[in-house]
Structure formats: structure tokens, C-alpha cells
């Protein structure tokens, strides 16, 4: 069985500071990895994904994540956050041979002015 651990339930950070949201997973097979963002009272929006190829993936709004197979991690980073980045961030994994996404418990990013 696979699992996802998001070590930080909340991450407070000041505007324009860098941030890293940590994600570790466990799986016995090859995986696809995802970060989704959830704004208050909304559904999930896909932020970025790793399917294959380059281990560094980027989103259109400045986030990036790096797949590290040896450490089974897929940490999310942004060099300079904005107030509008305040949201809940979920890391998810899917075995390449399966259909279901397994989510972590989420990290609440709170950007303060």
C-alpha cells in the first residue's frame, strides 16, 4: 500500500519570503506525483505534476517541485510567496498501474504581510 506524509500541517511565512512544503511518499512500485492547491470553500486545482522525464517540474505561477527517488520525496518550493498563495496544499501519489490518487493530509500555507 502506498502512503503520503506531509510533515508540516501549517507553514506561516512572510510575503516575498521563500517557502518549502515537504512531501514524502512510500510505494513499492513506480509512481506519478502531484501537488494540488485548495482555496477556502473550493475544490482542488492541479498545481504541478511529475510523470516522467526531468525530475524538476514547474507551475505557471512560480512553484516548482523536485522528484527525488532515493529519498522518496517531492517537496514543493517557491522563491518568493504572495498573499494570494495562502491556501491548503496537498501532495498526492498514484501507482503507475493503478487509478486512485492517495493524498497527504495537507499543509496550510499562511502568507502574512
Amino acid at each position: 500500500a502506498q502512503s503520503v506524509t506531509q510533515l508540516d500541517s501549517q507553514v506561516p511565512v512572510f510575503e516575498e519570503a521563500p517557502v518549502e512544503l515537504r512531501c514524502n511518499y512510500s510505494s513499492s512500485v513506480s509512481v506519478y506525483l502531484f501537488w494540488y492547491v485548495q482555496y477556502p470553500n473550493q475544490g482542488l486545482q492541479l498545481l504541478l505534476k511529475y510523470l516522467s522525464g526531468s525530475t524538476l517540474v514547474e507551475s505557471i505561477n512560480g512553484f516548482e517541485a523536485e522528484f527525488n527517488k532515493s529519498q522518496t520525496s517531492f517537496h514543493l518550493r517557491k522563491p518568493s510567496v504572495h498573499i494570494s498563495d495562502t491556501a491548503e496544499y496537498f501532495c498526492a501519489v498514484r501507482d503507475t498501474g493503478r487509478r486512485a490518487l492517495t493524498f497527504g493530509s495537507g499543509t496550510r500555507l499562511q502568507v502574512q504581510p
Binding site: V4, F34, Y36, Q42, G43, L44, Q45, L46, K49, F90, A92, R98, R99, A100, L101, T102, F103, G104, S105, G106
Partner: protein, 111 residues
């Protein structure tokens, strides 16, 4: 291009009742997955439908059932509602096993 849509947005039921939630997938998508997100937690996979059949199921009791129609839309049915069924129910659509895109969810409150 409309994304994934869900109805209703909110719903209040009492214990023991039955509920039906609906989902229309994004244009071009043929697969629908359902997730339950309890307050303060990550989404949990309920099941996935493709070609009108349940293809994979998570660890949910038989009270949770679903259906997919020829136009790829889907319904989630929950019978004999319990207080613990109160949650945000999310529908995600995809093209087969490709990346899943989520709808806004239906918030169910069971009293």
C-alpha cells in the same frame, strides 16, 4: 470549455436518509473518480468509473455506490447516512488513467 461541474453545491440530510450527488466531467474526459474529504483531512478515494463500470474501489462500505451514464456523467449514492458521512465530496475527471481534474465539490452535512 467548462471544467468539472458538480451538483448540488450544498446539501443537508438527516441520519438514515439517502443522498445522490452528481458530476459532469470536463469535455473530452471519459473517466470519473469520487473522493471524500472530511474536515481538516486530505481526500480519500471512493471509486472510479470508466465505460460505465466501477474500475477500482477504495475502502468504503457498500452504502456508497455509483453509476456512470453513456455521456460519461456520474452519480454517487450514499444510503443509510451516518453523521460521519458529513464531508466535502469531490468528483474528478480524466481521460482514462491520465491526470485527474477536480470539480468544486458538494458539501454534505448529516444531522
Amino acid at each position: 470549455d467548462a471544467g468539472v461541474t458538480q451538483s448540488p453545491t450544498h446539501l443537508i440530510k438527516t441520519r438514515g436518509q439517502q443522498v445522490t450527488l452528481r458530476c459532469s466531467p470536463k469535455s473530452g474526459h471519459d473517466t470519473v473518480s469520487w473522493y471524500q474529504q472530511a474536515l481538516g483531512q486530505g481526500p480519500q478515494f471512493i471509486f472510479q468509473y470508466y465505460e460505465e463500470e466501477e474500475r477500482q474501489r477504495g475502502n468504503f462500505p457498500d452504502r456508497f455506490s455509483g453509476h456512470q451514464f453513456p455521456n460519461y456523467s456520474s452519480e454517487l449514492n450514499v444510503n443509510a447516512l451516518l453523521l460521519g458521512d458529513s464531508a466535502l465530496y469531490l468528483c474528478a475527471s480524466s481521460r482514462g488513467v491520465e491526470t485527474q481534474y477536480f470539480g468544486p465539490g458538494t458539501r454534505l452535512l448529516v444531522l
